[in-house]
């Protein structure tokens, strides 16, 4: 079994190397407890629902989420809105459809099967409305940033006055967690900006946490299923490995050698 300690050591070493290489330019991000981390990590349902509210009321005026559909809001492991709630949410959006039998495009209220309505018709429109910067699609945003959820969470709270000596152009803001510290998105969150229906106090910190949780789910909608299956798979493998180990010992006991 000593041999295995070597193998495992090697694996850990390689993982560390990889981890280091990803962490080349690490900033100390703000920390918070994420309910979805760890072997049994699950999303905080209420936080997801609040996060969706922050997304629709604040982010969605500029940021699209093109890979999500309204039906996803009802799915297991997500915000788990009831079907009626999700239908109402979908219906509150105007969706462009068509062409109809006359060949005309028309608008209708959204359905569960519709994708999240995009704030702009195309990238150029988004850029022109935002001083040349394209607000990135948020569907997989937390996976597309090195720091992941901690980065997004910190960024939302990282706005401050620029240090002396740094001048900012019009439409550029200072954020201590942004790469290069210059960001084209203005500070969006302020205490009490949204009114949570469950009575939670909408502090900047709370909203950042909720919306980041929501974005994590958006990027990994099957995270809960993955954690659950992973635990079962690994327990199964450990039991099987143990059984095979003893069978192996038994079989090899016929041979005069160690295994």
């Amino acid at each position: 079994m000593k041999k295995f300690s070597r193998i495992i050591f090697l694996i850990i070493l390689i993982t560390c190397f990889q981890y280091n290489s990803n962490a080349a330019e690490k900033v100390e991000y703000l920390k918070t407890d994420w309910s979805f981390k760890g072997l049994f990590g699950k999303f905080d349902r209420a936080s997801l629902q609040r996060g969706y509210q922050v997304y629709t009321e604040v982010c969605s005026s500029c940021h699209s989420m093109k890979y999500l559909s309204y039906r996803n809001l009802t799915e297991k492991g997500g915000p788990e809105f009831t079907e009626a709630e999700a239908k109402a949410i979908a219906a509150s959006f105007e969706v462009k459809d068509g062409p109809n039998s006359d060949g005309d495009m028309f608008t209708r209220p959204g359905k569960l099967s519709d994708k999240f309505v995009m704030p702009y018709d195309n990238v150029k429109a988004a850029q022109s409305a935002n001083g040349g910067a394209y607000p990135p699609d948020m569907s997989v945003l937390v996976k597309a940033r090195g720091g992941g959820v901690d980065y997004i969470y910190s960024l939302l709270q990282g706005y401050e006055d620029p240090p002396i000596g740094i001048t900012l152009d019009d439409g550029v803001y200072y954020n201590k967690f942004m790469y290069g510290n210059k960001i084209k998105m203005a500070n969006q969150l302020s205490d009490g900006l949204v009114e949570y229906s469950d009575g939670t106090n909408a502090t900047v910190e709370q909203m950042s946490k909720d919306v980041t949780t929501f974005l994590m789910w958006a990027a990994e909608p099957h995270l809960e299923a993955r954690h659950k299956m992973g635990f079962k798979a690994i327990v199964y493998l450990i039991i099987l490995t143990t059984l095979v180990y003893f069978s192996m010992k038994r079989i090899w006991s016929r041979v005069k050698t160690e295994v």
């Binding site: 295995f4 190397f17 996803n72």
Partner: protein
Amino acid sequence: MSDHEYNPKSKFGKWFNDRLPLLTLANHLTDYPTPKNLNYWWTFGGILTFCLITQIVTGLVLAMHYIAHADMAFDSVEHIMRDVNYGWLIRYIHANGASMFFLAVYIHIFRSLFYGSYKAPREIIWIIGIIIYLLMMAAAFMGYVLPWGQMSFWGATVITNLFSAIPLVGEGIVTWLWGGYSVDNPTLTRFFTLHYLIPFLILGLVVLHIWALHVPGNNNPVGIDIKKPSKDTVPFHPYIVIKDGFALLMFMIVFAFFVFYTPNILGHADNYIEADPLVTPAHIVPEWYLLPFYAILRSVPDKLLGVIAMLSAIFILAALPWLDTSKIRSAVFRPLYRQFYWILVADVLILGYVGAMPAEGLYLLIARVATAYYFLHFLVILPVLGFKEKTLPLPISITEPVLGGSPNLAAAKNREGLKE
């Protein structure tokens, strides 16, 4: 393969076997005499076969849902992750499976280096292995391009651009590879085709690799020739099957941990940003398993020489059976080689580390020293060592120490034990 004749018991079996000797083959595979002193480093052959099959099976399913088009590839991967039943599982197994494959192949290669498995009469096995390794790198590189994220696009741009270093025809070759004047849809579709093809080439070579192995039989930790079958060997089934199975299960636990709990840690975050030819990422880095060669490439200031150095670093391995002049296979009996072996391991790990860092300042200096040492090891140290080194006396057989014999092996084993 014709160690002994096999006669099927049933009449039909005999009739069939006379026409297609599959039963003889099956019998050969079960009875295949294997040295009984193989340690766990020898289980990675079986693990690698598992990795290859896993990649092929998950890859087939992914190919049913993936769309090889520059405008749709990224979307189709997200479709797999979200809407295909257990698509996330299949894709994470496939993506992490590539890393696991390389982890296992590096252990397999370094086992061979330690125990001198590449030496006569096993040179052909070794060379086929190097070709498999080359094809693996090609498959992995092209597979990484398919999701059409930022790292896919820019990785493909950097690597294909290496061909432009070839004098006179370089630029033409790059245009030909791309199917246009930049990495674009034609590049993606051909990479997809090749990515689909290569695993089957690897599968064929694996058959040859095993065939070539079954002619001389396995090397072993003591590195001496053994008689087959004899007291020194055990039949492949059930002894090696159960041992390989046990090791494979241990490996699968590690594999499962990556797939279920840190599925994205081995990838790069930028690859979740859709490819954009107008935005270059801050650092373009290949996957971890290509980093040592990337470091060698960047440590040479000239582009063409850099490419030559990188390719030589791989092809030099094919010449290893002739560069290593020592008649003794196992490092257990080569006290000096053993030390140089571990220095080489450290050297390659260092190359991997600096490969992930920006090529400047101290990192570049380290990369250059490590690159120089890599070639020094193979071109100078190994050939000279074969003549200069005072090796330890070999035991007569591998049963000898078991039955209470050789003090040499006991001493050697003891030394090994101390290291653990």
